[in-house]
């Protein structure tokens, strides 16, 4: 079977296994390191023993199960979610610079959070970076972000149904994003300094806020968005060539576009709600996937993008935990690792 496959030049699978196995191995190693690092360092061997059910020290077991494992899962879900959303949007808009931010979904979530923080009466007393958030009520924050992202999504879907050209939808998304950002800017400008600091802390992004209680919701959002996209890989392949092209080979363009926008909004909105506006990852991971697989088949690109996103997110989270006391903000770290990595990949493989 493989022989006939490769002889025709249509073999998605031959380009799938090596990057998939490599990325999975990298993600596994990074996951172990991610559990090991933090304010309390745990030796790698002890991490393994703890995961196997026999922690060498009681408090390590507690730390791993209560703090490190939820944080690890959050990091994995965020990386996979943003990378998938980025791939969907880049292919649908045929624009390598499209990402979850370009639909204004992140900005919508920011509006929700900003409105909650600046208009809401309950002001947190603590002013440490991430520490101030739980006092606001973490779930309230998630709801506010989801509502904001959802509102923007409804506007974008409404626009998308009335507009023929998909590029126009992208431009509208960017404009709606600017609109949302300017509202946030005004809120920040007139906000009390303490609330401004709280809001800024949220914008730095964090994988550490989600507890076991919220994990099922977060996982549900990411998995359903990913599954929705996986059902539409044919449409994604065709959209990458062109929308009119897709229409001539039997794809219902408008319906597929709505489903894919919905999937990317659930993915990006979910991550923004739980982790804050994580930038860069959604744009960078799909490029890594394309460069690694040299494929245009989304049945390949979607899982490889998700795994690349997971690796990016884990690296950023490890680096943010390395100083030990007080975590570094995730957002700047992501761009700091990601940008040089993508640039080097592009430089190594110049041919399209």
């Amino acid at each position: 079977m493989t022989d006939t496959l490769s002889s025709t030049g249509i073999d998605a699978r031959e380009r799938l296994w090596l990057p998939l196995a490599g990325l999975a191995a990298a993600a596994a190693v990074l996951s172990l390191i991610d559990i090991a690092v933090g304010s309390v360092r745990i030796p790698l061997a002890a991490v393994w023993q703890t995961l196997a059910g026999s922690p060498p020290r009681e408090e390590w077991g507690t730390i791993v199960h209560i703090f490190r494992l939820p944080k690890l899962l959050t990091t994995i879900l965020a990386g996979a979610g943003l990378a998938s959303a980025g791939l969907i949007l880049q292919s649908m808009f045929r624009n390598p610079l499209a990402g979850p931010d370009s639909l204004g979904i992140g900005a919508g979530a920011s509006i929700g959070v900003a409105l909650l923080m600046f208009m809401g009466g309950t002001a947190g007393s603590s002013s440490t970076l991430i520490g101030s958030l739980p006092s606001l009520g973490y779930l309230l924050l998630v709801i506010a972000a989801s509502l904001g992202a959802g509102a923007i999504l409804i506007i974008i879907l409404f626009i998308a149904r009335r507009i023929e050209q998909v590029v126009t939808v992208l431009i509208m998304g960017i404009l709606v994003g600017y609109l949302a950002s300017s509202i946030v800017s005004l809120l920040v400008y007139f906000g009390a300094p303490q609330k401004v600091q709280m809001y800024l802390a949220w914008t730095y992004g964090s994988f550490g806020g989600v507890t076991w209680k919220e994990i099922p919701w977060f996982a549900g959002a990411v998995i359903s968005g990913f599954a929705l996209a996986l059902c539409d890989t044919k449409a994604l392949n065709a959209f990458l060539v062109g929308e009119r092209f897709a229409a001539t080979i039997g794809i219902r363009v408008s319906a597929a576009r709505t489903r894919l926008l919905l999937a990317s909004a659930v993915l990006a909105g979910g991550v923004t709600a739980f982790c804050g506006p994580i930038a860069f990852l959604g744009i960078a991971a799909p490029h890594a996937a394309r460069l690694l697989t040299r494929s245009a088949e989304h049945r390949v690109l979607l899982p490889v993008s998700a795994l690349s996103g997971i690796c990016f997110a884990l690296l950023a989270d490890i680096l943010s935990s390395l100083p030990g006391k007080g975590m570094l903000p995730v957002n700047p770290l992501l761009a700091l690792i990601g940008a040089p990595l993508i640039i080097s990949l592009f430089l190594r493989k110049t041919e399209p």
Partner: protein
């Protein structure tokens, strides 16, 4: 792939040679198109009830068709009252000056743009009642647009032609793979299967795009200016290919082109949209003699010489 390999007498240049070739199939000479006024009008006279073609169901037909756009709900009609039909086994060339509405007509016939009035039928069925998925089994088109191919190989690109037939996971059966290989062989691009689509020349890309449409295995094939950006030998190659797809693969091939001279030589039927968006149809030599081409392009310094089948300058000769 050179013109001489094709045994058809239509490849001898010039209109007089073509006339007998078309006369062979005298059934194609419709009384309505013979006269000058009829060839210029788009009235129902083009398809008289007595025509022997009436018995066969046309692959594609339009009655009272108006094409154009809707602007804020109000229709902006480009051309109206278009009656046309195309038969399987025939090559139809749609010609006309820039801006006459050739691409709009083609897009409307392909179902990508709604007609403002009138009806289109595919294989005798009203297109308004044909679903997108089913339409892809009846009609394949190659539009002249920028293709973003990324890392696609030639074979992967041709595999898009099998999309209407594959499941959601896009599993290619042995039959799908055979059709892809056959389509590539038909256009003479078998050796390119594993090449990257992005690395192809314009002519090679056009052939691969046609192979993609062939792999779709439809009775109707539409090509939107397939010879644009191509050098002279490649243009002839594409017309040869279009002719073979009509005669040998028994498709209704409709191509829109600026190559009037090539179209007159190889098409079985000419559709012409003029500067005033009037539509006329007929056998190429009838259209050529009627003066419709001259009127369609209507350029003061240029005239169409129906003897040689070429455009000539009125200037210093």
């Amino acid at each position: 792939m050179t013109p001489t390999q094709n045994q058809s007498p239509r490849h001898v240049p010039g209109i007089p040679d073509i006339a007998p070739a078309n006369a062979d199939s005298s059934a194609r000479m419709r009384p309505g198109t013979a006269g000058l006024p009829a060839a210029h009008s788009s009235a129902g006279a083009v398809f008289p009830a007595s025509s022997p073609q009436q018995s066969a169901v046309p692959a594609i037909a339009a009655i009272g068709l108006s094409i154009g756009w809707k602007q804020r709900g109000a229709p902006a009609i480009l051309s109206s009252g278009i009656n046309l039909r195309a038969q399987q086994g025939h090559l139809t060339a749609l010609v006309g000056p820039n801006g006459a509405g050739k691409s709009t007509l083609l897009r409307t016939l392909a179902g990508l743009q709604p007609p403002l009035a009138g009806s289109i039928s595919l294989a005798g069925r009203d297109m308004a009642h044909i679903e997108v998925e089913e339409r892809a089994n009846l009609l394949a088109c190659v539009f002249n647009e920028r293709i973003e191919s990324g890392y696609l190989t030639v074979a992967e690109f041709v595999a898009f032609g099998r999309y209407p037939y594959t499941n959601a996971r896009n599993h290619l059966s042995a039959e799908d793979r055979r059709q892809i290989a056959d389509a590539l062989a038909l256009v003479g691009m078998s050796g390119f299967a594993r090449r990257s689509f992005a690395s192809l020349s314009d002519g090679e890309r056009q052939k691969v795009q046609i192979a993609r449409a062939v792999a779709q295995n439809t009775p109707i094939l539409m090509l939107d200016e397939p010879t644009a950006f191509l050098d002279a030998p490649s243009r002839i190659e594409i017309f040869d290919l279009a002719q073979r797809l009509a005669r040998q693969s028994h498709k209704a091939v409709i191509l829109c082109t600026h190559e009037i001279e090539l179209a007159l030589r190889s098409a079985d039927e000419l559709w012409i949209l003029d500067r005033t968006h009037h539509f006329a149809a007929g056998a190429p030599f009838v259209i050529a003699r009627s003066g419709a081409i001259d009127r369609a392009f209507n350029l003061p310094g240029v005239y169409f010489d129906s003897q040689s089948g070429t455009f000539r300058s009125r200037g210093i000769h």
